[in-house]
């Protein structure tokens, strides 16, 4: 695997569905502090249309990711964008697929896009009072986790590493916001800030 081939050079964020603009901006700000890549929010009014999972009120995560990857191709071509630009979709709706009940985020190694759904990251999903700050923090860390997948990383078994597999919000909160030394060393240069 050659890291330079997949190395993201810039991040473009966009809303997918009814995402409040302050939330999107908050996530962009947080992510831009953690990565060493230029980040910008796209103000687009086109709808990303995607199919639902049959029989469920959920977006199909695989199709959503494929749709975003297609749109990312345009971003990678100057003058619209730069090569290596990764499109980050922040989705309002819950997502899953025929096999899995839900995903927090979805990405492929070497892919051009990532998608993170905020539906299950918000405390309101679990019947608790809204906390936009907590939702934005979780979403930013999920974005970073998925971006590391794009850059070639797999899951890590260390408890405090951001690349640890997390299937529920408790696990997302527990694993913290940093990569372990080993995972950090595998990331391309300039991926991380500082």
């Amino acid at each position: 695997m050659s890291p330079s081939a997949l190395s993201p050079s810039a991040l473009a964020f966009r809303a997918v569905g009814a995402i409040a603009q302050p939330l999107l901006r908050d996530v962009v700000t947080r992510v831009s502090r953690m990565v060493g890549l230029p980040c910008r929010a796209l103000a687009l009014d086109d709808e990303v249309r995607t199919a639902s999972v049959v029989g469920r009120k959920q977006w199909d995560a695989d199709r959503l990711l494929a749709e975003l990857e297609m749109r990312a191709e345009a971003l990678a071509v100057p003058p619209i964008g730069a090569p290596g630009t990764v499109l980050v979709g922040l989705a309002a709706e819950d997502m899953g697929n025929a096999i899995f009940t839900h995903f927090f985020g979805r990405a492929r190694i070497g892919g051009g896009a990532v998608v993170v759904s905020v539906a299950r990251l918000s405390p309101t999903f679990y019947g608790m009072p809204d906390d936009p700050d907590l939702t934005a923090r979780r979403a930013s860390l999920e974005v970073l986790h998925e971006l590391a997948h794009v850059a070639g990383l797999r899951h890590c078994t260390l408890p405090n590493c951001l690349m640890r597999l997390a299937h529920n919000v408790e696990a997302i909160d527990l694993r913290g916001g940093a990569f372990c030394a080993e995972c950090a060393s595998r990331l391309p240069r300039h991926f991380l800030a500082g």
């Binding site: 096999i99 899995f100 009940t101 492929r108 797999r154 299937h167």
Partner: protein
Amino acid sequence: MTAAEPFRILVVDDETIVRESLGGWFREDGCKVDCVPSSREALRLVAENRYDLALLDVKMPGMDGLELQARLAEAAPDLTIIIMTAYASVDTAVRALKQGAYDYIVKPFDPDDLSHLVRRAQEHRSLRSENRRLRESLEAVATPESIVGTSPQMRRVQELIASVAPTDATVLVTGKSGTGKELVAKAIHAGSPRRLNALVTVHCGALAEGVLESELFGHEKGAFTGAAYHHKGKFEQADGGTIFLDEIGEVSPRVQVELLRVLEEKTVTRVGGKQPVPTDFRVVAATNRDLESMVKEGKFREDLWWRLNVVTILIPPLSDRPDDIEPLARHFLDRFARQMNLKDVSFSPEAIVALKAHPWPGNVRELQNAIERAVVLGKPPVIRMDDLPFSVTHGGAPRITGRKLEDVERGHIAAVLSETNWNITRAADVLGVDRGTLYNKIQRYKLERPASV
């Protein structure tokens, strides 16, 4: 299982989306995954590779998940199986559980549930293989019969085993057939630091040259006609443990050369392979042949003999250690009685005399068979002389004819001589007379030793 070894998963589902989703998901988690759309392909892969876990879809065209499960239980009994099912066929999943599946999971999967299930399966698996290893090592430690005996010769054997077992020294066990050479190998393995790993036995004399080669060294796929899959040889299987090469005297000159190389280099190259594989084994070899004279006759390589002959343990035939017959016979009687749930079983005094008088050409194995037969066919709790196979059918034992005391004495002496193979010392011992008296009786009754015994 070492931490570096990835968990190997096989996914069998006819739906592409399932294979892609699960495959990607497990791969992200650091597992090695193969995904196939049919039972037929699953069976082919299982024959070729080792998997820790298989996830099988219940509903598939052709052979369904339950039938595949049954076939896998035979082909790969160690494999942990999880059944995947849609909500509608939960009954089928319950059937799978009764059939021995580890668990089932209903589609769509909550990633959290699936993750927990796979972790549990992983732990279950490592516990199970640990238990098996422990059980096998306990079985190996149980007193082997070959080592029962209080004669000076057997004491010497016991001492040798005790001193050589904890080392890594190569041991050559020699002795007539039936003396229990394999049991000595087991005792050496059980007394060594390798006891938690495998003791792998190869009966070299039973296999044709080509078969023996691939049995010992393994072979690569396509190494010869019929080699459809690659195969790990016994040396590789014995990695960390002991390899027992029985009937080493029967090995062909070509295989002797290869054996010598493997023993010297501690690496194995599979038949048809190029890459030597390092393996860590200890060798115990056995033979009932006189290897030293085979070396002199040029039938066995001298360099290989030197390699094997680091420590030699000679097990004397039973006829050389009559003192061991009675304790061994009692040992077997106890064992078979326990197996058949019989209590207070014993030998009649005549049966003991007959056992001691018999020459036991088949050694410990013959004795064991005789006792087993007596327990099964005789009339316990007392085993009588009539229950012993040789007392009635012993070939060449002259029948006692006539009613005169003289005739009876002549017949009895002839029978004992025949049973002891005309060993005068032992026959005198059995008859309770000294050797001089026995010689006189032999002359008086004109008893003659048969031409060939």
